[in-house]
């Protein structure tokens, strides 16, 4: 098994070259091309196309894995949309979190990248520093922030107390869970900033020089040059953070995934993926879980399409000009 998987192409290609004198060079190359991309094509079938179809079919069944699946028709969907309070809560939590973190993350990442884009000495040091948190393991990062947000002995409320403020109960308070998680997500904003930075450095400096000579203020230069030319990068970041944020799992699992009360205080941190995980892998309701997965996937798809649809209005591609 392992041998086959490791080098699926090596021997067939050698054999082909041995005997394929009769075929034209183009045909030989075409066959070789397909052999080279074969591992990915096979993976596409086994790990993507197959599972997508399977999960759609499963979403119309009841299945606990142990007994054979039973056809359920639209039961799962009907129940989710009409009777499932947890589903509504999960949607609320997930979308509120997305509405808080995505715009803030985009703006903060962009702002940070503008600072890092100054032609000053030592910028590499700062870039390294700000990028670091975004590559740290999510489990460790979550444990750290749960401890920092500890309302009695945590460092965050200590900092607030220095300014004479009494900190809230953060992760123990239904009202402060999501703001707390949003603050935590901002720690990783350097990951996005680095991408913006690359976009900024791709902008032709002569545009700024020309604008400066024409007397454009820094403000006007930002709105008329930087933002339009950066819009493809912003668009990319928006789509990726939309897809990623709506599927957040690790943080909520580590912080609020406890067996007794998944979802935190009054289920205020019942993220969609956490709920889906509990239904599928704790209660082993695979049909119900599949239906939940499909609903989320369709919502993500629709939102992504909406973003793509609006992109013609605000995303500026230099090549098409």
């Amino acid at each position: 098994m392992a041998g086959n998987v490791l080098m699926p192409d090596a021997s067939p290609i050698r054999r082909m070259f041995g005997r394929a004198r009769g075929r034209s060079l183009a045909t030989q190359e075409a066959i070789a091309g397909y052999l080279f991309v074969l591992p990915w094509l096979a993976g596409l079938l086994i790990f993507i196309v197959g599972p997508i179809i399977a999960s759609l079919v499963l979403s119309f069944t009841h299945w606990d894995i142990v007994n054979p699946p039973e056809w359920a028709g639209l039961y799962n969907y009907e129940r989710i949309f009409t009777k499932d309070q947890d589903f509504i809560q999960a949607i609320k939590v997930t979308f509120t979190y997305a509405a808080l973190t995505i715009p803030l993350g985009l703006a903060a990442g962009l702002g940070l990248s503008l600072l890092l884009n100054q032609k000053l000495r030592g910028m590499n040091f700062y870039r390294t520093l700000f990028y670091l948190p975004s590559i740290l393991p999510a489990v460790a990062v979550t444990l750290l922030w749960v401890w920092m947000f500890n309302s009695d002995f945590g460092i965050i409320n200590w900092v607030l107390s220095l300014f004479g403020l009494e900190g809230p109960h953060w992760f123990q308070s239904p009202r402060w869970v999501l703001p707390g998680l949003t603050i935590m997500s901002l720690w990783g904003v350097g990951g996005g900033a680095v991408i913006y930075l690359a976009g900024l450095q791709n902008i032709n400096p002569q545009l700024y020089e020309a604008a400066e000579i024409d007397g454009a203020s820094p403000w006007a230069r930002f709105w008329r040059i930087t933002l339009p030319l950066l819009s493809p990068t912003i668009f990319f970041q928006l789509v990726m953070s939309l897809i990623g944020t709506l599927q957040s799992f690790v943080t909520t699992f580590v912080a609020f995934g406890g067996l007794a009360t998944p979802g935190g205080p009054m289920r205020s941190a019942l993220f969609y993926m956490l709920y889906l995980y509990v239904k599928s892998f704790r209660e082993f309701r695979m049909g119900y879980g599949s239906a939940l997965a499909w609903i989320l996937a369709v919502m993500i798809l629709v939102l992504t399409l909406i973003v793509f649809g609006t992109s013609k209005r605000w995303v500026f591609y230099e090549a098409q000009k």
Binding site: E29, L136, G199
Partner: protein
Amino acid sequence: MEATNVAAHAPSAQPDTEISQPSLLARQSVRRLLSGSAVYVILTVLGIVCLIPLAWMLSTSLKATGEVFIWPPKWIPDELLWNNFTRVFTTIPFARYIWNTLTIVAWSIIGNVLSCSIVAFGFARLRFPGRNFWFGVLIATLMIPGTVLTIPTFILFKELGWYDTYLPLIVPTFFGAPFFIFLMRQYMLTIPLELDDAARIDGANWWQILTQVILPLCKPPLTIIVVFTFMGSWNDLMGPLIYLSDPDKYTVAIGLAMFKSATMAARTDWPALMAGSLMSILPAMVIYYFAQKYLIGGIASVGLKG
């Protein structure tokens, strides 16, 4: 570079203001200096804010268990208790977790490097009908929400009898990861095709061209694949959570997550938890230090193309 451009513009634009040019430049440079120091101040403040969590992690990991529950919190413990770190190894089988994780990491790196090189070579260097179509499909798969794949993939691996083994975490890497294939293909496109032709004339087949001509030139994307695979496998929680049931097979990520819920019942053992967390982030920090040039450039290039 900047100076030459200004010089090139200035005379042709407004030749009669050349006399006032020096004072204008002086005023500009003063402004630059001021805004430059403002940038440093802001960045330094933000940098300190950015480092506080890590300092707090280190500080907690060296405290006595009772010392963490003190108000106001102490930044520097009375006594530096390094044995919090050894306690992590005795309370939970942390060494075994590390070994397990490294096993998965090593196989995943082999899998991704092999499969992504091979597939990227096909997309970048060979002409075949449907190539652009399939590459479009590959890009589209980057945007498929993984949510819909989790349950059926779990069932597939369970049916294969791979539940509670590392195979579900390793085998998929041998089929190529779209993101890495994309990175690798983009890089391979920058290598002149004449190299392939020359090698062909010398009698090399495609496989030899890949392994002996192209791959030796692909160190930057290969570094990115190795590092990202390392971090992805090291950090992965969902995979081990779903597929591993025997605690002896746990990885660092799930081991730490479970360690937290285990200690939550009593008073949380924050010093040990932070010591474990600190050890779990060390590999990422070390690798990051050595590979940051490739990493930052690699991520950024994807953003630009998208």
